[in-house]
C-alpha cells in the first residue's frame, strides 16, 4: 500500500474542469513534489486528499483511508496550508499546545520545546504570534504541522515568505523528517530548485492533467542530450583545446562558457573517447561532467504546451 494514492481523480468548480483524470502514487517515506503553474489545481488535489472537498470522480486515499470520513486516520496526517492555522492572539507555545490537545499528543510540553528549538523560535515561545514576521509564522506553522509526528505531511508551499537561511532550514528539516522519522512528505512547490534537491519523485500538473510523473533522477537523466562540460586545470588553454575538440569525429559542437568547454557529442557514449583525446593531446583535465537537464527545463517543457492548448 502506498502512502498516497490518487486514481482517476476529477473535479470541477462552477462547470470548469480543474482536475481531469489525475492519477499518481507516493510511496512510504518518499518526498514527493507536486508541481504546476498557479491555478493548476495543486491545492485542490490536497484538499480532496484531506477530505475537505469531495472528488467529482475517482478516488484519493491517504494511508489507504478516506480522510473525509475517517477521523482516526486524520490523526496520522499533518498539513500546512497557505494559512498557517495559528491564532495571532495566542503565544507560539500556546498555539502548539492547542493543536497538541486536538491531536492528543502525549507529553506535549517536551515535544513543543523540541519543535520550538528546531524552528529557532524557542526564545519567542511566549510572544503572541501576531507579533511575528511572515517567515516566523511560517516556521511555526511547519512545527505545528509535524507536532503530532504524522506519518504523512502535506506542505503547501512551505518555503513561501522565508529568507534563504530559513528556506534551507526547511529543506534540511524535510529531508531529515523523511530520513529519520520515515515521514512521507507531499510538497506543493514552485521552488523547482528546492524540489530537485530534496524530492525523490515528482508529478507535474498542468491543464488539469498530469503531464509527467516519475522519479527526479529519471526525469533529469541526461539521456537524449549528450552534453559534456570539460574544465581544464589551466583555463587559459581552453581556446586551443576547443580547436582540438572540434576536429574530433564524434563531436557535434563545442562552445566556451564560464564553467569550461561545453561539448555536444554526436555519439552519446563517446565521453571516454573525448577524455582520452584531450589527455592524448597533453591537456590537463580538471573535471568532466555530463550535464543533466534541470528540473526547470523539464517543467517548462511540460507546462508550456499544456498552457498553450489545454
Amino acid at each position: 500500500m502506498n502512502a498516497v494514492e490518487v486514481r482517476g481523480l476529477s473535479r470541477s468548480f462552477d462547470g470548469r474542469d480543474i482536475l481531469r483524470d489525475v492519477s499518481f502514487t507516493v510511496g512510504h517515506g518518499e518526498i514527493f513534489g507536486y508541481l504546476g503553474p498557479n491555478g493548476a489545481g495543486k491545492t485542490t488535489t490536497v484538499r480532496i486528499l484531506l477530505g475537505l472537498l469531495a472528488p467529482g470522480a475517482g478516488e484519493a486515499r491517504v494511508l489507504g483511508r478516506d480522510l473525509a470520513v475517517d477521523d482516526d486516520a486524520r490523526a496520522r496526517v499533518g498539513v500546512l496550508f497557505e494559512n498557517n492555522g495559528l491564532s495571532d492572539r495566542m503565544s507560539a507555545a500556546g498555539n502548539l499546545a492547542y493543536y497538541a490537545g486536538l491531536y492528543g499528543v502525549e507529553d506535549p510540553a517536551e515535544r513543543i520545546d523540541e519543535l520550538l528549538t528546531l524552528v529557532d523560535l524557542a526564545d519567542r515561545r511566549n510572544d503572541l504570534v501576531g507579533t511575528f514576521s511572515t517567515g516566523m509564522k511560517r516556521k511555526l506553522g511547519i512545527a505545528r504541522a509535524i507536532l503530532h509526528r504524522p506519518e504523512v505531511v502535506f506542505l503547501d508551499e512551505p518555503s513561501s515568505g522565508l529568507d534563504p537561511g530559513a528556506q534551507r532550514m526547511v529543506r534540511d528539516l524535510i529531508s531529515e523528517l523523511s530520513r529519520r522519522e520515515e515521514m512521507t512528505v507531499f510538497l506543493n512547490s514552485h521552488h523547482l530548485d528546492e524540489v530537485q534537491r530534496i524530492c525523490s519523485s515528482v508529478a507535474i500538473l498542468a491543464g488539469g492533467r498530469i503531464r509527467a510523473f516519475d522519479s527526479v533522477a529519471h526525469l533529469t537523466a541526461a539521456s537524449g542530450r549528450p552534453v559534456v562540460t570539460v574544465a581544464l586545470a589551466d583555463p587559459g588553454e581552453s581556446a586551443r583545446a576547443r580547436e582540438e575538440i572540434a576536429r574530433l569525429p564524434f563531436v557535434a559542437g563545442c562552445e566556451m562558457n564560464g564553467e569550461g568547454l561545453l561539448c555536444t557529442l554526436s555519439d552519446p557514449g563517446a565521453t571516454p573517447d573525448l577524455i582520452a583525446a584531450l589527455v592524448g593531446a597533453n591537456f590537463r583535465v580538471e573535471e568532466v561532467r555530463r550535464s543533466s537537464r534541470s528540473l526547470e527545463d523539464i517543467y517548462l517543457e511540460h507546462v508550456a504546451p499544456a498552457e498553450g492548448g489545454a
Binding site: 477521523d71 494559512n83 486536538l102
Partner: protein
C-alpha cells in the same frame, strides 16, 4: 483532557483577551439595561414580581445578542482568515469543533449577560426600593432559562457562520437577532402564564431554549467540511 474542553477553554481564553469584543459586549451590557431600568422603574407599579418580570424580559434578548457578539471571533474570524481549514484536518469532527466553540462562546456571553442583569436589577432596586433580585422566578430565569438561550444563540449563529458565505453572514446576523427577539416575545404571549414572570412562561421558555439547542446541534451535524471550505472567502 477531552478535545471538547480543549476547544472550549481556548475559545474562552481568546474571548477574554479580545478587547474590542469585550468592550462592545460591556457597553451593551451596561448601557441598554440601565436605560431600560429607568423605564421599568417609572412605568411599573410597586409589585416586585412585575418589576422582576420586566428585567427578565430585557435580559433574554441581551443574552442572545451576547452570543452573537462572541461568535464573531470564534467562528467568523477563523473562517475569514482560513484557520478553520487547518482545524478541519485534525481528528476532531466538524460537530465536535462546533460544540467546543459554541460552549466556549456561550460561557463569556453568559457571564456578560449576568453582569448586565446585576446592573439592571441594582438600578431598578435603587430607584424603587423593591428587592427584585430576591424574586425566585427571576433567579430561575437567570440561572436556567438565560444560559440555555445563550447556548442556543451561540450554537445556531455559530453553525450558520460555519455554513454560510461572508455576505450571507453579514445579513444573517441581524435576521437572527430579530428572529430570536420575535420568538421570545411570541412565546411569552402564547405561554399560559402570559408575559411577565410566571412558572408556566418560564417553563415554556426553558423548553423552547432546549429545543433550539437541539436544532442547532442538528444543523451543525448537517454542515459538511466541503461546505465550510467552499465558503471561505
Amino acid at each position: 483532557m477531552s478535545t471538547f474542553s480543549v476547544i472550549a477553554r481556548r475559545e474562552m481564553r481568546l474571548a477574554f483577551r479580545n478587547r474590542s469584543v469585550l468592550i462592545t459586549g460591556f457597553i451593551f451590557a451596561i448601557w441598554f439595561p440601565v436605560v431600560s431600568a429607568f423605564g421599568i422603574a417609572a412605568g411599573a407599579g410597586e409589585e416586585t414580581v412585575v418589576l422582576a418580570g420586566s428585567i427578565a424580559a430585557i435580559i433574554l434578548p441581551i443574552g442572545v445578542f451576547m452570543g452573537y457578539v462572541f461568535c464573531a471571533d470564534a467562528f467568523l474570524r477563523e473562517k475569514r482568515d482560513g484557520t478553520i481549514e487547518t482545524l478541519l484536518c485534525t481528528p476532531v469532527s466538524l460537530r465536535g469543533l462546533w460544540e467546543g466553540k459554541a460552549a466556549g462562546v456561550a460561557v463569556p456571553a453568559y457571564l456578560m449577560t449576568l453582569i448586565s442583569a446585576a446592573v439592571t436589577a441594582a438600578t431598578v432596586s435603587a430607584l424603587t426600593d423593591a428587592p427584585v433580585i430576591a424574586e425566585p422566578l427571576l433567579l430561575f430565569h437567570l440561572a436556567a432559562v438565560v444560559p440555555v438561550w445563550v447556548a442556543a444563540s451561540a450554537g445556531l449563529i455559530g453553525a450558520a457562520q460555519l455554513a454560510l458565505g461572508m455576505r450571507e453572514n453579514q445579513i444573517l446576523g441581524f435576521v437572527f437577532i430579530f428572529g430570536f427577539i420575535f420568538l421570545i416575545i411570541a412565546l411569552q404571549e402564547v405561554a399560559p402564564g402570559g408575559p411577565g414572570l410566571s412558572v408556566m412562561t418560564e417553563a415554556v421558555l426553558a423548553a423552547a431554549g432546549i429545543a433550539l439547542v437541539a436544532l442547532a446541534r442538528f444543523i451543525a451535524g448537517k454542515v459538511t467540511r466541503e461546505r465550510v471550505v467552499l465558503t471561505i472567502p
